[in-house]
C-alpha cells in the first residue's frame, strides 16, 4: 500500500498547561491531535507519578499530532511560545501515513 511521509510531534507537558497548548496548536492550524495520560517519570525536576494525585498540578500529559512537513515550523513556534518557561519535552520524528490529505 502507498504511504506518505509526515511528521509526528510528541509534546510531554505539565497537565495544567494542556488547555493552553492545544489552543495554540489549533491556532497554528493542526488538523488534529491526541492527548494521552502519562503514568509517571523522572527528569531534571525530579520524580513524579500520577497515582493518587487529586490535583492535576503534579501530573503530565502527552499531546501527539501528525502533520505535513510544511506545517511543522509554525506549529513548533506556536508550541514553543507556550512551553518556553515550563517543564516538558518536544520530540519530532518522521512517520508515514496512508491518507496525507488529512494532515
Amino acid at each position: 500500500m502507498q504511504t506518505h511521509e509526515a511528521k509526528r510531534v510528541e509534546i510531554t507537558i505539565e497537565a495544567p498547561m494542556e488547555r493552553r497548548l492545544v489552543r495554540a496548536l489549533k491556532e497554528a492550524g493542526v488538523a488534529g491531535y491526541t492527548i494521552l495520560p502519562v503514568l509517571g517519570g523522572y527528569g531534571r525536576s525530579g520524580e513524579w507519578s500520577r497515582e493518587g494525585q487529586v490535583s492535576r498540578a503534579g501530573g503530565m500529559v502527552c499531546v501527539i499530532c501528525i502533520l505535513s512537513e510544511d506545517r511543522l515550523q509554525p506549529l513548533l513556534e506556536a508550541a514553543f511560545a507556550v512551553l518556553e518557561r515550563h517543564l516538558g519535552v518536544v520530540c519530532v520524528t518522521d512517520c508515514e501515513v496512508l491518507r496525507p490529505g488529512r494532515f
Binding site: 520524580e47 507519578s49 497515582e51 493518587g52 498540578a57
Partner: protein, 325 residues
C-alpha cells in the same frame, strides 16, 4: 496544657490519623500500595460534595445570621493577608528566592479542604457544633491568596502574571465549584434533602475520609521520599511555625466575629492550613520557575501532617479555652 496533650493523644489514635500514618509509612518503606488516580479523584469528589451539602443543610436548618457576610469578608482578608506574613517569615527564616517564597506564601494563604474536613470530623466526634456556612468561608479563601502571592512576586521583580484563562481556572476550580454547588443544593433542599441522602453522605463519611487520608499519606510519603532533601531546617521550622501563626490570626478573627467554639476552630484550621490542590496548579501556570518540590513537600509533607496530628487538637483546646466552650 494537659488538656491539649490529652486531645492530641486521643486524636493520634483515631482511625483517620492512623490511616494517614499507614499511607505515609507504606510510601516511606517503598511498598507498592497505591490508590489509583481515578479512585482518589472519586473519593475527593465524595468528600467535597458531602461537606458542602451538610454545610448548606445546616444553614437551612438553623437559619442565617448576620455574621455570614462578615465571615466571608474576614475569610477574604485572611487569605490576602496570610501570604504577606508567610512571605516575610520565609525571607527571614530561609534562603528561598523571591519566586519560590512567593509561591510558598500563596499556598499558606489559601486553604486545605481536607484539613478542614478532618477538623469538622474531630468537632463532630466531640459533639462541638459549628456554623454551617464555614464551608462557604473555606471556598472563598481558596483564590485571594493566589492573587496576593502573584502580586508580591511581581512587585519584587520576580516575574509572573495572570491572564484571563488563569482567572477562570482559579475561580472555577473544580473543588470550589463542587463545594459551593453542594452547599447551594444543601441550602435549597434543607434538612429534608439531607434526610433523603444521609445514608450516603453521613454514615459512610468517616470511612471514606480514612481511605482518602490513606492516599494522602501515600502522596505525602512519596513526596518526602522524592523531594525531602529540599526541606532545609529553616523550611521545616517554617512549615510548623506558619500554621501556628496562621491559627492565631484565625483565632483573633473568630473571636472578633463572635463565632461558636466550633466556628473558631474551623477558622483557625483554615488559616493554619496550606493548599495542595488549587494553588499548585495555578502556580505551575503563573510561576513555572518556582520549584514545585519546595511548595508541595512543605504543604503536603510538613504542614498537613502537623495540622492533622497536633495542630487540630491544639486549635480545639485553644478555641475552647478562649470561647469558654
Amino acid at each position: 496544657m494537659s488538656d491539649i496533650l490529652d486531645l492530641a493523644a486521643g486524636n493520634l489514635i483515631s482511625p483517620i490519623i492512623l490511616s494517614f500514618a499507614l499511607g505515609g509509612a507504606a510510601a516511606l518503606a517503598r511498598s507498592d500500595l497505591s490508590v489509583p488516580e481515578a479512585a482518589a479523584k472519586a473519593l475527593s469528589i465524595y468528600l467535597l460534595f458531602a461537606i458542602g451539602f451538610k454545610g448548606g443543610a445546616s444553614v437551612a436548618g438553623h437559619g442565617l445570621d448576620g455574621t455570614l457576610i462578615l465571615s466571608l469578608g474576614t475569610g477574604i482578608v485572611l487569605s490576602v493577608l496570610l501570604p504577606f506574613v508567610a512571605f516575610a517569615l520565609l525571607r527571614a527564616m530561609t534562603r528561598l528566592s523571591v519566586v519560590d517564597a512567593g509561591a510558598v506564601a500563596g499556598h499558606y494563604g489559601s486553604i486545605s479542604i481536607v484539613t478542614f474536613v478532618a477538623a469538622s470530623s474531630v468537632l463532630a466526634s466531640r459533639g462541638i457544633g459549628a456554623e454551617g456556612y464555614m464551608v462557604a468561608v473555606a471556598a472563598i479563601m481558596e483564590a485571594p491568596a493566589i492573587l496576593a502571592a502573584l502580586w508580591l512576586v511581581v512587585r519584587k521583580g520576580g516575574g509572573g502574571g495572570i491572564d484571563a484563562g488563569l482567572w477562570r481556572e482559579i475561580l472555577l476550580n473544580g473543588s470550589i465549584v463542587l463545594l459551593v454547588g453542594a452547599f447551594a443544593i444543601g441550602w435549597i433542599t434543607g434538612p429534608e434533602g439531607l434526610a433523603e441522602i444521609d445514608s450516603f453522605i453521613v454514615a459512610p463519611f468517616k470511612g471514606v475520609l480514612c481511605l482518602f487520608l490513606l492516599d494522602m499519606g501515600l502522596v505525602a510519603g512519596r513526596n518526602l521520599r522524592a523531594s525531602g532533601k529540599v526541606i532545609t531546617p529553616g523550611l521545616l521550622a517554617f512549615g510548623v511555625l506558619m500554621p501556628l501563626v496562621g491559627s492565631l490570626f484565625g483565632l483573633a478573627a473568630g473571636l472578633a466575629l463572635n463565632l461558636s467554639t466550633g466556628g473558631v476552630v474551623l477558622l483557625m484550621t483554615l488559616a493554619a492550613s496550606a493548599s495542595y490542590i488549587a494553588v499548585p496548579a495555578a502556580m505551575r501556570v503563573a510561576l513555572p520557575e518556582a520549584n514545585p518540590s519546595v511548595y508541595l513537600t512543605l504543604s503536603l509533607g510538613v504542614t498537613f501532617p502537623f495540622n492533622l496530628t497536633l495542630g487540630i487538637p491544639a486549635y480545639v483546646a485553644l478555641a475552647s479555652l478562649t470561647t469558654g466552650g
